[in-house]
Subunit: 341 residues, 2 copies
């Protein structure tokens, strides 16, 4: 390993001068600097980050606390797209990403703060945790800058980026209403997800805009999973055969709901229309192709990285980013008024 000491020796100067020259300080003689840089290159020097960050307390790394980066979350490539966005932006800003492997067991053992301190990350991006996750408390009270995805917390060191879930859900349900549907179910995620709360509101708002009373019994939770939604849809549809449409708070759940419909010997969209949320790739290839609400996943990650770095580098920016969504009309919605939705 080549150190500045080696360079100093070879260039016949002190380590101090080497340090200054390499870090671009302007109080170094031009000739000296040139010489030092030459020697450094010749020796293939690269600075030791550990030593540097021991002093500066900065590591130029961002910690990632992501759930859903484990087995069998492959269909759910949302995390992946978000990750791609974070990776791209972090790279551009010259930060590296370190993935914390957070199994629930490990969480119990190691506190959030400890985790971050040990790994010496400058800040953290968190995604996929529940509102009742004990980590959340630690996060807000901690002084480590942090960006949350889909969790509305704000503070001097906490920001978040999310999608406009109310509007997204509203648009989806309005689309069903505009196509003549009057009995619309909702398969939501779970109560400890901020997006579920907002998507429920969008659903209710849309109904209200058409003067349709909100029926609590039409709303069930599917735990954001394919199987969860399948079960939920079985129950919902069996109990309320008058339903002509269902809005699912995620595409994965739309998949499950469709399976249930088919399991009951009915068809989508002939017997029941389905709208999902997320716009995962599968929806376009599924038969029927699934109408859904597009979420800008890549952008979410990109913005999260940007926001965190802004915070880290002391820029005064809005800690609250909300991205647009848009309805993607495909084949899983049938019009009850005319021939096609």
């Amino acid at each position: 390993m080549v150190t500045i000491k080696d360079i100093a020796k070879k260039a016949q100067v002190s380590v101090t001068t080497v340090s200054r020259a390499l870090n671009g300080y302007d109080d170094v003689n031009k000739e000296t600097r040139k010489k030092i840089i030459g020697v450094a290159e010749q020796l293939g020097y690269s600075p030791n980050i550990a030593a540097r960050s021991l002093i500066s307390k900065k590591t130029k790394t961002i910690g990632l606390l992501l759930s859903n980066v484990t087995r069998a979350s492959s269909k759910d490539n949302i995390v992946f797209e978000v990750l791609c966005g974070m990776n791209d932006r972090a790279g551009e800003l010259d930060y590296d990403l370190v993935l914390f492997s957070t199994t629930p067991q490990k969480q119990k053992i190691k506190s959030y703060k400890k985790l971050c301190n040990e790994r010496g990350v400058d800040g953290v991006i968190i995604s996929g945790i529940r509102l009742d996750d004990p980590y959340l408390e630690e996060i807000v009270s901690s002084d480590i800058p942090c960006v949350l995805i889909d969790i509305p917390l704000q503070g001097p060191n906490v920001g978040y980026v999310t999608s406009d879930n109310v509007k997204g859900a509203y648009t989806a349900v309005r689309h069903l209403l505009d196509n003549g549907h009057r009995h619309i179910g909702l398969i939501n995620g779970h109560s400890q997800a901020d997006v579920s709360i907002h998507r429920l509101k969008g659903y209710a708002d849309a109904l209200e805009s058409c003067g349709i009373p909100y029926n609590e019994a039409y709303v069930v939770d599917g735990a954001f999973s394919e199987s969860g939604a399948r079960e939920a849809m079985y129950r919902l549809y069996s109990r309320f055969p008058e339903l002509t449409a269902v809005f699912c708070a995620s595409d994965l759940m739309a998949l499950g709901a469709i399976q249930a419909v088919q399991g009951l010997g009915r068809l989508v969209p002939e017997d029941i229309s389905v709208v999902g949320f997320d716009n995962i790739d599968l929806t376009a290839y599924h038969s029927p192709a699934i109408t859904t609400v597009n979420q800008h996943k890549y952008e979410t990650g990109y913005q999260a990285a940007q926001l965190l770095v802004d915070m880290l580098e002391g820029r005064n920016v809005n800690h609250h980013i909300v991205l647009n969504t848009e309805l993607v009309k495909r084949e899983s919605v049938r019009s009850l008024t005319r021939s096609n939705g």
Copy 2:
């Protein structure tokens, strides 16, 4: 920040003793140890990794050099699944993963070795680079332990994990042959991919096993992309209308090939049968569902992490891991002998 110094002061011992107690050395009095651990916990101490690795030269981190963790690689969730596997195993073995953002531009500026040194990773896992990538040379000659995915290099510090691509391709093409197909095209990736070389061999071997002469003109490259394969298939099928089947070296390319077939007003599998490779999630939801060769993506990542850690910790293991593949029969292959394939 709490340091061992703080603990030492409060526990009325020297820093050395604190260090030893906390690191589980057995030459510490039981009482002393208990006291120190107590104080450490009370103070919320967590060791500073930077300081520690400055001495030990170990960081317990694995660097990841992955292509395809950028925009628009979402359909290709292979990398993601591999990543999940690595993440899980690395977590179990108490290593963290750091994602190097390697844009081609950055690669030019910074050498592989420099990158690793600076970030102080103990070892590296590399995936998605071409055989003619300049990094490859550096990698073998470097002394940084490294595991490659789908690139057959071996050495004291280099290992790799891949799938049995010859057999996988062989099985796929045999399946077509067994269904009566005699004119079978191959849409391969590119010449600088090891998997392409092996899948071509499997294709040729299968033909040979049936006494069918290998026809070079039936083999084209699709660059592993949907659009590349679409173009390739247009050309191939227009030129050789006698083709009744095509084997694609990736599912993404199978998608593209099918689009071309449909673009020419033909149907899959009625007019032409298609077999893919990888078994990405889309294939099961596509209409028709695509017959493909399953690759154990998660396992690939899992094994890669395991192998690297084995190497890092000086265990004497085989540096060469080949995973099985298996044919997944679905709807994109038609039997020319009986009614159904």
